[in-house]
Structures are given as C-alpha cells and as structure tokens.
Symmetry: C2
C-alpha cells in the first residue's frame, strides 16, 4: 500500500518537466536532479548498509568509532571531497542491566528503557511505593516533599500529529520530569514513553537534570505498561515497584564526518546539509537518523555529481545529536566561516513524505526560490508562508548565529511509533517516500548551489530562538 502513496506525484512529474520553458536552465536542471532522485537507490542503499554493517551507534561508544569509519568510507565512495572527521568531547552514557517490576499487589514485569543520562540505581535496585499521575501537570501540582521515598510515574500520553508537534508538547515529561519529581522527594521516576501507537517496546531519550534537584534514576515505560499501571491504580490499592538501572557515564570522543562537492565558481560559499550519525542503542537507527543522512547525502550527490555546482555543497553527519553534544562543537568549528554559509538544513524526522518547505524570512519572494517552488509543487510540496525558525538540533548554534536556515516539514504521523525504540529499523523505510525527500532536497541544493541567491533575512528580522 505504502508505495502507492506517492504514485500520483510520480506520474504527475512527466508533464511539468516537459512543459518547463526551455529558456530556464535553472528550472530544467533542478527538475532533472529531482527526477533522477525518484528512481535512485543511493539513499536506500545508504540506510541498508548503515543498519546492516554498523547497526546502533551510541555516541562515544566503540560503535560510534565504527560508524565514523563507515561514514568516511561511504562519502569517499560517493565521490565527496575533503572527507574527514571532526572530533569533539562527549560523555558516553551507556545502559547496563535494566529491570522493573510490580512487586505488589500482583507481581508483573514492566518493560522499560533507562533515559539517556540517567544515574544508576544502587546495585540492588530501588523498591518503593508508586504514585501514578495521569498528567504531567498533576505531578507539577504536587507539593514539595509530597513524594518523599516514592517512585513518581507520569502516564500522560503523547499526541499523534502529522507535524510532530505532539512530541514537542510532551517533551518536558521526559526532559524535566526527573528533576521535578526529585524536587518533590521522589527516589525514582518513570513516565509513559513519548510515543504513539500501542507497543510493548519502550522509547528512550535524553533527560536534563536541573542543578537544584537531586539526580534520581529515570526510565521510560512502554505505552502498554503505562496503561497497565493505570489499570492497577484504578483499584486504589498501594502499588510497590522495584527498579534497577545500571548505567555508566564516561568521558569519550565523538566525530562529525563531513564531505564536500566543491563549488566551481565560489568554493568558499557553502551550503551545509546533513543528518546525525549517532543513534540510540535499542534499534539500528534507521529512521533516526539514518534516513536523514541518506536523504541529504543522496540529494547532494544527485544535485552536484553530474555537473559541478557553482557553490560548495557540504554534507555533515553529525556525531552526537541524541545527547546534545554535536551542535556546540560544530558551531564553534564553523562560526569562522559564518559569512560564507549560504544555508544550513538538517533532515531528522524520519523518511516519510515532505509536505512543506520553510525558508528564512523573506526568501520565498526571491526569484530562485520561486523557481524552486515550481519544481517542488509536483512532489506535493508547498513553500510555507511561515518562515523557518529552528532547523534541527545540530545546526541550532549556526541558526542562532545568523546562518540562513531551511526546514523541510515531513509527515511525522508514524515516526513516533518507532522513534528511540528497538523498532527503529530498516523495514520502516518507505522507499517511495524516502525518494520524495531526496528529490526535494536535490532540487533545493541544485538551485541554491547554482545561483547567487542570498537567503539572509532582511536586516532587523528578529533572530530565532531555540524551541
């Protein structure tokens, strides 16, 4: 069924390509890059190899070094130049033994995953009474001290949305919940996975401890186990839970791998696109973010390989997105060339279809971007009337420093069924939708790299804030 989703878009492409004015080589060139992308296998082969030949690649671990070597080899084989790895320091957080169970009133195992950055429990674990909060606000409303000695549990569901906004709305539950619970006296924290769908597989993710609260162990429950605890809480009987998390955190190194298609006229002017190389450990990091790299690398290859672009196209495989380490390192390393950055963009929302492109404020009115809009329209993509703001975790520093930022909006309806779980695997990649992404990025790269378009917002535009 899935391959049919874009059949209409595919068949609609023949006509506009033929009907394009022969007098507009920019449009014709972008259309050619786009159309090559729709039947190309570069992106799929990239993810197939990454998930098969590397698999999970948690930042700072030995797998992270294997991923670096794989990335260098892959970009080199695709003809990219100046391929190299930029090292930066990270804390390598790794999970050890993890277990959780209801001890009473009725023994049952609970499917959990420790949150990235969580401190361990004592070796023997923690056993305590649970307090179940149906919403995060209910937890926040609990008085300081009221959870003394308890395990706080938030079972609020994340909302499924096509634009992925449900994830942002639920994010504080995972990011801030552990410290909010600790501040109220809790000895451990569990929350319903920030996920859609019904699966017994939990979804992990990073937490952020706050400086003024004790650090307590924290883990995500599978959606189903969270529902089970709600059923148990309905009985009104005390629930005792045992939790064991044996994590370690050690200083280490990660690498962002970059490669270029050098510009023929303005090699110093650079368009930087990419995805992140690191992944969470339970899956194989296919859609988070194997496909983001695959899409941008394949698009760069298709936009620039046949006909060298005027400006440089650089791809970046960011080395430590999940624990928020690569952004600062990449920003520090590349701020010196800020004036020459034509645009930055990151693909990090899976590989389902793009429905809109957000450009920097004012850019949609520029000639080359109007051409881009005509090239994207047959892919069922519109140029958003809303300007882009944040373009991705790894480029946030450059965005805030003023680099023109683009953002392709993807259908995220299914993404959070698998994101950060053991189910983030190759089979989730819909090849037709994947290539629609590649086509859109290739069209953008072709036009941005073969014109002198200036995507900077007009002077006086307020600079974007991190979401």
């Amino acid at each position: 069924m899935r391959p049919l989703l874009l059949a209409a878009a595919l068949s609609a492409l023949a006509m506009p390509a033929i009907a394009a004015p022969p007098s507009d080589p920019l449009r014709t060139g972008a259309e050619a890059a786009r159309d090559r992308a729709l039947t190309d296998t570069t992106a799929y082969d990239f993810v197939e190899s990454l998930t098969t030949d590397v698999g999970q690649r948690l930042a700072g671990t030995e797998a992270s070094a294997r991923a670096r070597d794989w990335g260098i080899a892959r970009l080199t084989a695709l003809g990219f130049k100046n391929v190299h790895a930029e090292a930066f320091p990270v804390t390598a957080w790794q999970r050890g033994e993890e277990a959780a169970a209801v001890v009473s009133p009725h023994p049952q195992k609970l499917a959990i995953l420790g949150l990235g950055g969580s401190v361990p429990t004592p070796p023997e674990g923690i056993e305590a009474e649970a307090v179940v909060f149906r919403t995060y606000d209910d937890l926040l409303a609990a008085p300081v001290g009221s959870l003394a000695g308890k395990i706080a549990i938030v079972t609020q569901p994340m909302v499924r949305t096509a634009d992925g906004s449900g994830y942002g709305a639920a994010n504080p539950i995972r990011r801030s919940g552990p410290s909010e619970a600790a501040r109220r006296g809790a000895v451990a924290y569990l929350h319903r996975s920030l996920a859609t769908g019904e699966s017994r597989l939990p979804h992990t993710g990073a937490l952020n401890y706050q400086a003024d609260a004790p650090k307590i162990p924290a883990a995500a429950l599978s959606v189903i186990d969270s529902e089970l605890l709600e059923h148990m809480a309905d009985r009104g009987q005390p629930i005792r839970i045992r939790l064991k998390l044996q994590s370690t955190a050690t200083p280490s190194t990660a690498w962002t791998v970059t490669g270029e298609i050098p510009g023929s006229e303005h090699p110093e002017q650079v368009i930087i696109v990419g995805g992140h190389l690191d992944s969470w450990d339970p899956g194989t990091g296919a859609i988070d973010d194997g496909t983001g790299m695959a899409i941008t690398v394949a698009a760069a290859h298709l936009a620039g390989a046949a006909h060298p672009p005027k400006r440089t196209i650089r791809v970046a495989l960011f080395g430590a997105e999940e624990m928020d380490f690569s952004d600062d390192a990449f920003t520090a390393a590349h701020k010196p060339e800020l004036a020459n950055i034509v645009a930055v963009g990151e693909s990090d929302s899976g590989s389902d279809r793009i429905w809109a492109l957000a450009l920097p404020a004012g850019a949609a009115k520029l000639g080359p971007m109007k051409t881009l809009a005509t090239v994207l329209a047959p892919l069922s993509i519109y140029v958003s009337p809303e300007p882009s703001r944040f373009g991705g975790s790894d480029i946030g520093g450059l965005t805030m420093a003023g680099a023109p930022t683009i953002a392709f909006r993807q259908d995220a309806s299914r993404y959070f069924d698998w994101h950060h779980s053991a189910d983030d695997t190759l089979d989730k990649v819909d090849r037709v939708q994947l290539n629609q992404n590649v086509a859109a990025w290739a069209a953008f790269l072709y036009i941005a790299a073969n014109t002198d378009v200036d995507l900077h917002p007009p002077a006086g535009t307020p600079s974007p804030a991190r979401p």
Copy 2:
C-alpha cells in the same frame, strides 16, 4: 475506528429481533441472549482483571497457581456452581537469561526468545558460524552432517491469512526445525518468529524434540532481526553468532478450573466450552487466551444465568495448553461422561470477529441449528458447509473420542502480529468484536442447552484426525 467495524451488525439487529415469529420462543430466547451480549461488559472485565491482577501465567509456575485462584474466584463471583480445579502434572519450563548477538563481521544485538521446551546452552553460551536458509525446505534439503558445528537459521516468513492457516503451514519450522537442524549437525537453531507484521519483539512457542536427534538450544528471532540476518547473508561473508539461553525444566502441577450452570431437566447432559488459562510469559496473555475464556464464560453466563438451561453448561479454563499438557489430562478425567457430552468447543484465536460456525457433520440440517443460523446471520456469521473437525488443542482428545465438536472461525488477520509475544496485551482487545464473539457463543449455548438436539455425526462418519 475499530469500534465502528461492527456498527452495521449492531444496528441491523433491532429489526430481526422484532420480526422474529412470536411463536418461536427458542429463537426469541437466543436472540435475547445474543443482544444482551452486544452491550455486556462481562467478557472485557474478565480480561481486564486477568491481565491486570494476574498477568502472565506460564503453566506450572507460581503465577499458574495465582491464575487458578483467580479463576475459581471469578467463576464463583459470576454465579457458576461446582467450581473447582482439576490438578494434573506438567513440566514447568522457564526461561532464564537469554541473549544473542552477531559477533562478526559487524557486532549487532539480536532480539530473540527461547522456544518453550528448549534445552539451555552451556552457561558461557555457544559461539558458531551461522548458516542462513531462506526456506525451511532448504534446511530439509541440507545433507546430514552438513551443519556440523553451525547455528542453523531459517528466515522463511509466515503468511498472513484471515483464517489463520498461515500459522499451521509454518508450524513445522518451530516445532520440528530444532531436531531437523540437529540431525544435520547443527549446535543451535534460530528461526524467524512465526508471526505477521514488522516488530522487534520475538514470538515464542513450543518446540517438539524428536527422539532420534540430539536436543539443541533453539530460539525465535524477531521478524526484523531475521530480515537483518538476510541482509548480512547477502554480503556473502561468514557470520558468527553468539547465543545464550539459560532455561530450566522441573516437574510441577497445573490446574484446569471448571464451573457449571447446572441443567434443570438433564443435568447429566453437558455442553463444555472454554479457553485456556495458561499463557506464554512475555505478554499478559490477553488474546492468547484471556479472551477465549472471557468469551465462553461470558456467553455461558448470558445464556444461562437469567433462565436456567435444561442441560448443563460447563466452562473450562484449561491449565496448560501452550505446552500441550491439558488435553490428555482433561480427556482422561472426562471420558467417562463421554456419552453425555452434547458438544465441546474452545475459543483460542484471539477476539476478532467470528465469520463462520462449523458444526459436526450433518448437524447444520437439524431444526435447532437452522434456528441458530438465523440468529447468527445478523452478526455477519454463516454456518459453514464444511463440518467441524478439530475444535481446539485442549479438547482434541474428546473430539477424537467422538464428542460432537463445534468451531467458531474468527478473523485471524491481526492475531499473529501479537500472539506469543510481549505484545499480547489488553490494548489489542477490540471490545465490539469481542462482544460479537460473546453474542455468537451465547446464541449457540442457549439453543444447545434448551433443546434436545443431538449433534453427533451420523453413524459411519469418519472420526476427525488431529491437524
């Protein structure tokens, strides 16, 4: 969306009930039982409590005894009489530590579940080269000795079908594969889960070692990990795998719990229906077979509670289906009353909608069964022109001894997405479809228990064989 699936059936029911001839109290009574079932909560409450208050209940374990007590209490609370547990011996097989990983060419973890009955590996595990067979026939075609020292892996997929026949067709891969591999020299056996859908959760199930082959450790790979190994095998490089399974098997006891609604005219004539109380350990046994018990118990309650039936309705919660222990014990205990068994039936295919009823040969022509057909038709259920043969694992002995056997055919399209995995949980139960099952069983029980219908096949009908 799901609750709408049977909305048409529900709304269609008003008219036939009114249009029933007032002169046919059998039909009117069966229709009333059917219609009560459609909005009743007995079945759902049964599964909700079982999965919340007991959870997994592997036969012969301490959870099995808790399930027995729960079953006795539940049937008693519902007003059943003669509620008791029938003990029988089982081998309690329990999994211990389980782990599998690709060691080379590229390290990756593999999601597995040991097969029920598997012997353990040595404590340090087994490491060996893998041989990947795309079909089970390819394994069978391998010469004796050709797998010496290897881990044999069968990646053949199971076929999704509405009638569940894909499971039967694939069953030898799990049941016989371990011995077939051992006979050819293999030191361990892995196979793609007998499952539909794409999930990282493996699906377990029982194996049957053959007497003439060494017993080797065996486990099911998740569908996705099986696909990963196919991708690796495509490279043509040797694959080394490490496997650790620490299982135990000890003599123990299990219990089949029964309860009755005694017949007012012919208490000795008995209709026996039920599902199985034991479950596999990774999930909470909601659809295998919490719902089978829930459906038949609720149907008996609705068919008999308001108005005592003429014949006895007995419900049986079979104690050890998954490892094939309850059938022989139940058959031995109840063969003495064989002549008084009006009918036997088991519900053990989840809780999605029934589409057909299979009756013993010749029974569809009997007046009461023709009435039943008219009562089932508004539920979108037809009476199959094919006679019933096998009716369920726990009643196979009685069937072969000649007890008239009925079989409601359920839509099994989704069942094997979750069956025998950690995803066999309450959320998979569609309450509208569940109640359609209850309604159908209640109509059958009402008619079978309030008439003198004789469902025995005509003399000379060949007796059914186990599938």
